[in-house]
Symmetry: C2
Subunit: 617 residues, 2 copies
């Protein structure tokens, strides 16, 4: 078998692996590679084969997004964890015998097999050479396309009435709720809260209730004197390569009390300030009309009540906006919680994170507030400093989550596997019930080992960052072939991990990877009132993006997002699920058909090469 065939066979199998795990979890895998895979297998692809996630549509006019009525009835099922994964059983007896209902989750041994295959593949000489060359070719090909067709693309866009970069929809695909306001906004809010609420009891200090005035006095501060400088939440040169320093920037004036008061959902004022700030951000997005955001709220897994509290906050303050789609972020900080004895083992954390969601899915009326909130949640994120190395190698011999009781954090891959496995089963149950499903959209490839990107290639609908795809041609090419969306945040990277002009965004975009732009943390990184526009403007300037480039990136962001099918049809056109120019409605997206055709033909060409390689014998 020559090198070409070897590489193609490896890449083929890699794609089938991703396809399998995407289908299992009701996540997306594009039609074009699926069609090629079926062709290789001598089968016919049918449109019904497409697996689609379910997102909750916008409430109809007059409909209350917080309505707790009309939930489906209790199924009486039992959800119980076994080996770190929650299974759904008909009843307790079935649970005791571990006879789960038919929601096939990943099989650990197979998953490890698949993973080991991919680990070998990304280190395999011929495949590295092949993918490196293909990527180089994709780059040169785009440069040629640009030279030949740039003016033609522009001409298409000029002829396209009513639509330009400003009024095509863009989604901020990666933003943390706790930092979704910019520093100036937070400052203004703190000052305003003091003017209105100085005498309100807002906090408990050493067991004693204190007013806002007393709280600031205890910090030796007067909000009237506060400036953006003393607030000190902006990342600067000091945070480069220092994720720890960056995390400390979440504390205004370095005071965790203020973080608690203004940026937490759970505090003495039931997260009222935080809710107000978020609603102000939402109102700015609504005013801007064409901008959307997917803020992340935290579930830590320390306590099974977290979900109830978070959803109570959501309902109480009615934190809903058609311009926001919610995500749950789970920080990978088991080691800290275990160290403080908050949890006995890793399995308990997973249970705290997922069991309440399973229960609310089985019996929505058992926690109507949570059921309302889950309707508006579109996915899970996994967050923390990836550059922290765990030392653990995930294998069939790894302790099961319930046995993982040491203080050390499990590896990134271990975390990702168990989150994925639970989401996969959860999604099947939810789809069965006619409920919305959740996408797995972890932070991945911001730093640390390339294996993170491998784990997410297997499990994640899409990822945030992906910088380290630079380091592995095989993975980069696979992310290209499978069109795995990547939410990139070059301004965040610039303050943390990689200087702006070294950011691979432009390179990835040219090669045809599916990149979108996102802000990550406007509070820490942005200066202007429109952080997402700032992100686009700087990328456009530094990378000299054309309007077509920018609109393509904006279109990617809508596709990647958790916006509902109805919204996507409204923003991208009725055929948005189709690949290639047919799936593009230029009147809505302002992306030239020449560009769409180029992307589609190029992808088909690459996939066809693989087919030829596989069929060569």
């Amino acid at each position: 078998m020559d090198d070409f065939e070897l590489a193609c066979k490896g890449l083929y199998r890699a794609l089938t692996i991703r396809e399998k795990y995407m289908r299992m979890a009701l996540q997306r895998f594009p039609n074009t590679p699926s069609q090629f895979l079926r062709k290789i297998e001598g089968e016919t692809w049918k449109p019904e084969d497409q697996v689609l996630p379910v997102f909750t549509p916008l409430p109809k006019p007059g409909e209350d997004p917080f309505c707790t009525k009309d939930f489906p009835p209790n199924l009486g099922y039992v959800a119980r964890m076994k080996d770190g994964v929650i299974y759904v059983y008909k009843d307790a007896a079935a649970a005791d015998k571990h006879q789960p209902l038919n929601h096939p989750g990943p099989d650990l041994a197979t998953f490890i097999d698949d993973m080991n295959f991919l680990i070998a593949l990304i280190a395999q000489g011929p495949t590295k050479t092949y993918t490196h060359r293909r990527l180089k070719f994709l780059m040169s090909k785009f440069n040629v396309h640009e030279m030949l067709n740039e003016m033609e693309e522009m001409k298409e866009l000029k002829k396209n009435p009513h639509r330009d970069f400003y009024n095509c929809r863009k989604v901020d695909t990666h933003i943390h709720a706790a930092a979704c306001m910019n520093q100036k906004h937070l400052l203004r809010f703190i000052k305003k809260s003091y003017r209105v609420d100085a005498d309100r009891v807002v906090h408990v200090l050493k067991g004693k209730e204190v007013t806002l005035k007393e709280l600031f006095a205890s910090l030796n501060l007067h909000p009237y004197d506060l400036t953006v400088d003393s607030l000190d939440v902006h990342a600067g040169r000091q945070t480069f390569q220092r994720f720890d320093k960056f995390n400390a920037k979440y504390n205004p004036v370095g005071a965790s009390e203020l973080r608690d008061l203004y940026m937490k959902t759970e505090n003495h004022i039931s997260g009222e300030y935080f809710a107000t700030i978020i609603k102000e951000v939402a109102s700015d997005l609504e005013d801007a009309r064409y901008q959307y955001a997917e803020p992340r709220l935290s579930i830590y897994g320390c306590n099974p009540n977290e979900w109830a509290k978070l959803s109570s906050w959501f309902n109480k303050h009615r934190v809903f906006s058609p311009h926001l789609k919610w995500m749950i972020q789970v920080p990978r900080i088991y080691d800290i919680f275990r160290g403080r004895n908050f949890v006995p083992h890793f399995g308990k954390m997973l249970e705290n994170i997922f069991l309440p969601v399973f229960q609310a899915t089985i019996d929505p009326n058992s926690n109507p507030e949570l059921s309302v909130f889950l309707k508006h949640v579109t996915g899970f994120d996994s967050v923390d400093d990836e550059s922290k190395h765990s030392g653990h190698m995930f294998s069939t011999k790894s302790p099961k989550p319930e046995e993982w009781d040491i203080v050390k954090n499990p590896s990134y891959t271990y975390w990702i596997y168990y989150m994925y496995a639970n989401i996969a089963i959860l999604n099947q149950l939810r789809k069965e019930r006619g409920m919305n499903t959740f996408q797995f959209r972890p932070h991945c490839g911001e730093a640390g080992a390339v294996t993170h990107l491998l784990a997410c290639f297997m499990t994640a609908d899409n990822i945030s960052h992906g910088l380290n795809l630079k380091k592995s041609p095989v993975l980069q090419y696979l992310y290209y072939l499978a069109q795995v969306p990547i939410a990139m945040s070059p301004l965040s990277n610039n303050s943390l991990f990689l200087e702006y002009n070294k950011n691979p965004l432009l390179e990835f975009h040219k090669k045809g990877l599916m990149v979108s732009l996102s802000t990550d943390d406007p509070m820490q990184f942005h200066y202007t009132k429109e952080p997402l526009m700032e992100e686009y403007a700087i990328a456009a300037q530094v990378f000299k993006l054309s309007t077509c480039d920018m609109c393509e990136i904006a279109r990617n962001s809508v596709l990647q997002s958790g916006l509902s099918a109805e919204e996507k049809i409204h923003f991208l056109g009725t055929s948005y699920l189709q690949d290639g120019p047919e799936g593009n409605d230029i009147r809505k997206t302002n992306v030239a058909q020449i560009r769409m055709a180029y992307r589609y033909e190029t992808q088909c060409y690459e996939l066809n090469l693989i087919r030829e390689g596989v069929m060569a014998e």
Copy 2:
């Protein structure tokens, strides 16, 4: 004489040359180098030696900025051009005998001598080596300063109440009025004008008056369909190194009719739309509170009536805002006008540009509207593509302006000299009359020969661009020593002459050159609603500027600007004219005193070295 002495003597003489021409034209030369020059000469510097320009203060509450009363009476003087320079005479008889009043202008022969000395100096080996080393040293020294004091500077700023980067004053020191709105703003304005004014006669097409509707119909356009793309005023990859293409971007939808209608002061609707757009921009600045701009309006020199028409537009539409300071730009396009036989020779152009201003200065009541307008004008700019080479070498043998009747454009230096000479005399006359004076602030060093930077070192209060200082260590060091302000526009450069991350802004700032940030043409270059903030944000991100850096640049912009002394006191502190930390009021500027002390000590050290070199014998 060793190399060190040789270099120091040359630099000393260069500084005295600039000092002389600055004083002559009532332009600024900082105290610190003046003090060292006096010390070298064995004289004592006195505060009275400082020459100050005069800017019109803001109207007092209730005062009308357009009031045409209370102008001083007619002096009865005669202003007449001789050899390209306008002199002021007691009466016609004195004019006939060329016995001008005592307003000493530059002497051409001396000027050429001085210029030739500087031309030799910037090519002189030892001086090149010396200045190159000093600049390298300044760079390293700043890096060390930064490493040692960055946290201390930040601490100072954190302790400084009420003031941060957002609320310290910044002036957009270089912006063209015709492109001062962003593309989205212009688009919105065009659409609105059509909704309101479709049936209004706005233009004359082939001798026939046409309505707005008919005008758009003749262009095969409907404003309702217009987008930012079809408007096509934004610079892109196509404009890089193509100033000609860039200039064409001033025409919306490529139609010069629309440029005439929306971006000219003189048209069938008396420039009403243009005035409205500018007033909208001003109102945005007023809302932003801390931002100011110095827009340029054109005087071409084709016709002596231009001033009357421009000032009539200004007064008619009451285009005044406390946030705008006006500048006059003179495009260096004699060749075009001469080619079309609009002017007989270059002298006539100079006369058209300057004589009306002399006359309004001698007898303000002869043209009250012009006199009002001139009160609000703070300086002259010289604009055009510097990369166009003229081939002419300015010397004592050059034809006098009145003899320059060929179609070829005079050289940059020739243009600069004659503009300077007229401004110098004009300023003396105006100061005598208690009127405001004008700064000469040409575009310089954006492209073309380094001699442009040499000419402006002799004549300009401050310049726009200065990129080419990269190419001459001697000039760069002289600009540093004399603290010649440079309005830099890296986003403009990025679209026209130099990629963003190659821009020398950061390098110049670190070395201590006095740089400010400006937008040049928001219509062509910027994406967001706040172009100046976009400019600062991108520089901060790409160059990783600290808050102290940004506030220092903002402070420089106020110093460089034509804001009145009263405003500067308000924005920078009462001692703003003093050099060093004493001249800085951190409460107003948010610039750390450590930074100010560093800059001052460093400058003194460099000047002292020169003193030692000169005194060595």
